[in-house]
C-alpha cells in the first residue's frame, strides 16, 4: 500500500552525458561529456576574470571594471594568478580536444572566403565533422594566444629578470594578443548563443538535437547515428 513517490528522473541524455559523448540518446545527441564542459567553463571563467581585472589596467576607459574587485590594486594582484589559471585551464582544454582538431585539406579556405560564406549562412557542406574549420582555427588560435599571453605576462610579472628594452615588446605582445583574442571571443560567444539556436545547450546540458547536428555538423551526425549521406 505504499504510495509511489513522485519521481522526476534525470533526462537520459544528460545522464549519459555525465561520462560519454558522441552518442544518440532518444531525440538528442550528446556532444560534450561533463568533463569537456567543465574544462571549457573553467577556461571561460578564468578568461573573464582576466578580462575584468586586466582591462582596467589596460586603459582607464574600463576602469569601472576594477570596482567589481575592489580597485585597481586588487586587480593588479589578482590578474597574474588569474592568467596562470587561465593558461592551465586552456592547456587542459587543448589536450581534451586536440585529437578532433586536426585541420583537413578542404578546411584551408576557412582562413578566408569560407569563413565569410559561413557567416552569410551560405554553406551547404555535407563534409563537416564534429568541428568545422572555423572552430578548429579558433582552437589553434586560442592555444597560440594562451602561450603568447602567458610568456608576455610572465615577463610583465617579473620585469626585473628581463632586459629593459625587451619589456616594451612584452607589453605590446600582451596587449596585441589580447585584442585579437577578444575580437575572436566576441564572435565565438555570439555564434554560440544568439546566432545559432540550440548550440549553447551543448555547453550546459551537453546535448544537441538531431536536426541541429544534421544542419551544423552533418558528417559528425552520420558518424554518430550511422545514417547514410543524404541524397542530392
Amino acid at each position: 500500500m505504499s504510495a509511489v513517490t513522485p519521481h522526476r528522473p534525470v533526462d537520459p541524455a544528460v545522464l549519459a552525458g555525465q561520462t560519454r559523448e558522441n552518442i544518440v540518446v532518444g531525440d538528442e545527441i550528446v556532444r560534450h561529456d561533463r568533463r569537456s564542459r567543465l574544462i571549457h567553463w573553467a577556461v571561460a571563467a578564468f578568461f573573464f576574470l582576466c578580462v575584468f581585472t586586466g582591462m582596467p589596467i589596460w586603459t582607464p576607459l574600463f576602469g569601472w571594471m576594477a570596482h567589481l574587485f575592489g580597485g585597481l590594486s586588487v586587480c593588479r594582484v589578482v590578474h597574474p594568478w588569474a592568467g596562470l589559471a587561465f593558461f592551465l585551464a586552456s592547456g587542459a582544454m587543448f589536450f581534451q580536444w586536440v585529437s578532433d582538431m586536426h585541420m583537413e585539406p578542404n578546411e584551408r579556405g576557412w582562413l578566408g572566403p569560407k569563413l565569410f560564406q559561413y557567416l552569410r549562412y551560405e554553406t551547404e557542406d555535407e563534409d563537416v565533422g564534429k568541428y568545422n574549420g572555423g572552430q578548429k582555427l579558433l582552437f589553434w588560435a586560442a592555444g597560440l594566444g594562451a602561450i603568447g599571453l602567458l610568456l608576455s605576462g610572465l615577463m610583465m610579472w617579473f620585469p626585473q629578470l628581463i632586459p629593459r628594452p625587451l619589456m616594451a615588446f612584452a607589453y605590446l605582445i600582451h596587449d596585441f594578443t589580447f585584442i585579437l583574442f577578444g575580437v575572436m571571443i566576441v564572435f565565438h560567444i555570439y555564434l554560440g548563443t544568439a546566432a545559432e539556436p540550440g548550440t549553447f545547450g551543448s555547453m550546459t546540458r551537453g546535448t544537441v538535437t538531431r536536426p541541429w547536428a544534421r544542419l551544423h555538423h552533418p558528417r559528425w551526425y552520420r558518424e554518430v547515428t550511422g545514417e547514410k549521406p543524404r541524397r542530392g
Binding site: 546566432a195 536536426p211 544542419l215
Partner: protein, 293 residues
C-alpha cells in the same frame, strides 16, 4: 613659489592637462659636475630629509656608495674614470630623477593619478594610487624609478616637493658645500648653466654643455658637463626619449584595440540584424528519414 601643486599631467587620466591657470614658474635643480667634489653630503641630506633608512654601502671598485639607485636611496653620486688625452678624467655626477617635461614614467603608468607632474614641473609618485606594476621602469629613459619590496610601490626622488612648495630649496641643494648645486626657476637655472658653460669653454673645456635633453622636452634637473660630447661618460644617455615602443603601446595600439573590441561587438549585432539566426529547419522525424506522422 609657495604653491605649484596644481596637476599639470596625471597618469592614465585626461584631467589636469596643462591647465595653466596659475602663473607658476617651472622649477629646476642645477648641477655643475665640474665643481662637484664627490663629498656625498647631498646623499646624506636626501636620506635625512626624506627619513629614508640607512643603507649598507657596497664596494663597487670606486668611491660610489651603491651600484645604482634603490627604493630607499634616491640620490647617488656616480663616480666614473675615463682615459682622456693621455691622462685620466675623474667624473662625478649626481644621479636622481630628472623630472622630465615629458615624463616617460607617467606615459607608461596605468594607474590614474599614480604619477603626476605638478604645475611647477616636479614629477612625483603618489604611493596611494601606485599599484606596483613597474611599467614606469620601462617608460623611464634614465633608469630611475625603483620598486620597493617593503611598500609594494615605486619610489624615487620627489625634488623635495614638500620643501619646494613652502619656499625651501631641496635638501641636497641645501647641503652642497661647493655650490655646485643650485635651485630656482628653470629659466634662471638655464641662464646660470649657460654662463658656466661659457666660462668652461674659455678655460679648456671646449665641449662643455648644459645637459637639458630636448628629447624629453627638457628636464627640471639641468646638468653642466665638462665633457659634453660624451654624456655617456657620466652615465647619461646622449639623446633620451620616451621609448618608441612605449608610445606605440600606449598611443597607437591601445586606441586601435579599443576600437577593435567595440567594433567586434557592433559587428556581431550588425550581423544579427542582417542575417538573423541560423535556424534549424525540419522536424526530427524528417531528419531520421521517417514519414511524417
Amino acid at each position: 613659489m609657495a604653491h605649484g601643486l596644481d596637476i599639470r599631467r596625471s597618469s592614465a587620466s585626461v584631467w589636469g592637462s596643462l591647465s595653466g591657470m596659475r602663473s607658476v614658474p617651472t622649477v629646476s635643480k642645477y648641477i655643475d659636475t665640474t665643481t662637484c667634489i664627490g663629498c656625498k653630503a647631498c646623499e646624506v641630506a636626501c636620506q635625512e630629509w626624506n627619513d629614508l633608512k640607512p643603507v649598507a654601502t657596497q664596494q663597487v671598485g670606486t668611491y660610489q656608495t651603491l651600484p645604482t639607485l634603490n627604493p630607499e636611496y634616491w640620490n647617488l653620486i656616480r663616480f666614473n674614470e675615463r682615459d682622456f688625452d693621455g691622462g685620466i678624467v675623474w667624473l662625478m655626477r649626481k644621479d636622481q630623477c630628472m623630472h622630465c617635461d615629458e615624463p616617460g614614467c607617467l606615459a607608461a603608468c596605468p594607474a590614474p593619478g599614480a604619477i603626476v607632474q605638478y604645475d611647477n614641473g616636479i614629477v612625483d609618485v603618489n604611493p596611494d594610487q601606485c599599484i606596483g606594476c613597474k611599467y614606469c621602469e620601462t617608460g623611464c629613459p634614465f633608469d630611475v624609478p625603483r620598486f620597493s619590496q617593503t611598500t609594494g610601490k615605486m619610489a624615487k626622488c620627489t625634488l623635495c616637493v614638500d620643501r619646494v612648495t613652502v619656499g625651501l630649496e631641496p635638501a641636497c641643494v641645501k647641503s652642497c658645500p661647493t655650490g655646485c648645486l643650485h635651485f630656482g626657476t628653470k629659466e634662471d637655472m638655464v641662464e646660470l648653466g649657460h654662463t658656466r658653460v661659457a666660462q668652461l669653454k674659455q678655460t679648456g673645456f671646449a665641449n662643455a654643455v648644459l645637459y637639458d635633453p630636448q628629447g624629453v622636452g627638457g628636464t627640471s634637473v639641468v646638468t653642466v658637463l665638462g665633457h659634453g660630447d660624451h654624456p655617456e661618460w657620466y652615465g647619461l644617455p646622449a639623446d633620451p626619449h620616451v621609448p618608441l615602443l612605449v608610445k606605440l603601446w600606449k598611443s597607437v595600439l591601445r586606441p586601435i584595440g579599443v576600437v577593435a573590441l567595440f567594433g567586434a561587438v557592433v559587428g556581431a549585432f550588425s550581423h544579427y540584424t542582417k542575417f538573423g539566426r541560423k535556424e534549424v529547419r525540419g522536424t526530427d522525424s524528417q531528419d531520421r528519414n521517417l514519414p511524417d506522422a
